[in-house]
């Protein structure tokens, strides 16, 4: 990994030297690559990595991305012509298919018995589906009629997380803010959370960094907080990220990556990416201001560079490059951030 990062850094200088070698140093500096982020997590920006011919492969909102077991990057968009777009790691198109879900929003990949499965939420059709990588539906979780819900349109699921035992957790982030706990067969086991804890329970993930004690990390996006719950639904603690309207936690190695759709007072086009270390402290904010802690508390975050508009999800690959999908950003394709 480090070798590849050094290669990127060094070849960029070498190529710049070849192309511009006869120019003075000041001229070379004018064409240098932008580097964003802070501390140990800094990146170059490849704005066109995921760009496709929109006549054939259109997108509306690019909601979420995951990497499959073969290293391919899978994008979920709410354009029903091709809800799923599969890229090679280098950004080449590998395939498309549709779920016909106009509100396709949350995308989670889980490996079960050696096979990759996708869990997709649709906040407009009020359901969660589980598919194979080729799009075959193998499970549907419809609106959970009962004590908490009386009509389908109260249930607008935004994200799923799957536990080691196959249990499925669904965050109803655009609906009633409940977290629904199912077993792998789709039988409802528990409902917890709700408006007492969440304003926009937008994303959910299972934090397995402490292998002996896995917990749920759930975003309260409008509250700029991550909330930790036990797998049984007991509230444990919270992480404050003032000014950061975080979408879903993506846990890779020891870090948590979060697309931050808005910042500051929540104005349009103010997004960036947040990266927390193993102690859950913000260490890098590509596109954002320098993270600053005072008396142990993170000071309010805001956008510093207009790289992103509305980042909605981050996918981290094996080289720790990032792929950023954006909501309501002019139907643009994902951006790649190459770690340096």
């Amino acid at each position: 990994m480090m070798i590849r990062r050094n290669f990127i850094k060094n070849t960029s200088f070498a190529l710049a030297g070849l192309a511009l070698g006869k120019f003075p140093m000041a001229e070379i500096a004018k064409y240098k690559d932008v580097i964003i982020g802070h501390n140990s997590h800094q990146y170059k920006i490849d704005l066109n990595w995921g760009a496709l011919n929109s006549n054939f492969y259109p997108v509306k909102d690019c909601h979420e991305m995951v990497q499959d077991s073969r290293g391919r990057i899978i994008l979920l968009t709410n354009h029903v012509k091709n809800n799923i777009i599969i890229y090679s790691n280098s950004g080449q198109l590998e395939g498309v298919w549709t779920t016909n879900l106009p509100g396709a929003h949350g995308l989670t990949l889980n490996v079960e018995g050696g096979e990759d499965f996708l869990y997709i939420t649709d906040s407009e059709k009020n359901k969660v589906i589980k598919t194979t990588l080729s799009g075959k539906r193998v499970l549907e979780l419809n609106f959970p009629e009962g004590e908490k819900y009386s009509a389908p349109n109260q249930y607008k699921p935004t994200e799923t997380a799957v536990a080691e035992n196959g249990d499925i957790y669904v965050a109803d982030g655009y609906g009633e803010q409940w977290i629904l706990h199912y077993n792998s067969k789709g039988e409802l086991l528990n409902i917890f959370g709700g408006k007492e804890y969440f304003n926009n329970a937008h994303g959910i993930a299972i934090d397995k960094r402490d292998l002996k004690n896995p917990t749920l990390l759930i975003t309260a996006r409008q509250q700029n907080k991550l909330k930790r719950f036990s797998l049984e639904g007991k509230f444990l603690s919270e992480i404050n990220l003032p000014g950061a309207f975080i979408c879903r936690p993506v846990i890779h190695e020891k870090e948590i990556y979060l697309a931050t759709i808005w910042s500051g007072d929540g104005g349009e086009g103010t997004g960036f990416v947040s990266i927390l270390n193993e102690n859950n402290r913000l260490i890098s904010a590509p596109g954002g201001c320098v993270p600053f802690y005072e008396n142990g508390a993170l000071q309010p975050m805001y956008q510093a560079l207009k790289v992103f508009h509305h980042p909605h999800d981050v996918c981290v690959d094996e080289d720790e490059n990032l792929y950023v999908a954006q909501w309501n950003s002019g139907a643009t394709y994902p951006i790649k951030l190459v770690r340096v």
Partner: protein
Amino acid sequence: MKNLMLILWFFFFAFSCKTPLYMPGYFTKVKTIQLAKPLLKVDSIFFQKSAIVELELNHPQVDFRFSDDGWEVSSDSKKYDKSFNVSSTQTIRAKAFHKDFLSSETVSIDLIKVNSLAANAEISMSPLPSDSYIGAGAKTLADFKKGSMNFKDGNWLGFQSEIVTIDFGFLKKEKIESVGISFLRNNDAWIFSPKVIEIWIGGKMVKSKELPPTQKGRKASFSYEPIFFPVEHTDQVSIKILNLSQIPDWHPGKGTPPWFFIDEVFFNFRQ
């Protein structure tokens, strides 16, 4: 031959899955990314003696330039080194600059000096604000605390009535020459500016001011409307705010009553 090449070029791009001109490994260069707007912080937009202005954009090697003379900000404008005081009504404009990035958009703020009587006044409202947006009651209108864009911050009073009347009673008769009303426009939150503001003194309307209708697509903003009239010697002033009866047809909330949000009222008096 040249034409054939052009045709082949066209077909290559028209039927390519990638967009034209994609260069793998080509990274965004300096001078192409814009800085975000700096934060322009003031201790109070409304002030009696002076206000403190501070600029912030926590990114290495950022410079700020600002103007206080009505001119647009350029790289030749005054350089900002540290927070400064403003002691008269004026507009502060500022931008961030950096050698590697495009300069930010301009951020601006209107700072308003007031010599208000309202803090000592007895204030009553009809109807009362909505229970959800009642702030600290009537005194919210005279506490010198500017509401933020978060209209739930407790510094705003929110009404959903076609007519809102606010009565001010002063301790003694004063020579009053203007009233200033600070309110919020935020179409996305169904908050609209009033149609008309009337000033009534001694049972007589001394001034009526019509406000331009809110246009579709207008960004959320603070508004301050000063209303001048011939000097009146009085201890009672009523402000009648006439709102739209319903939200315009171009808005998703069409046909329903709009909200009116007000945070401060000032009375400038002749000493």
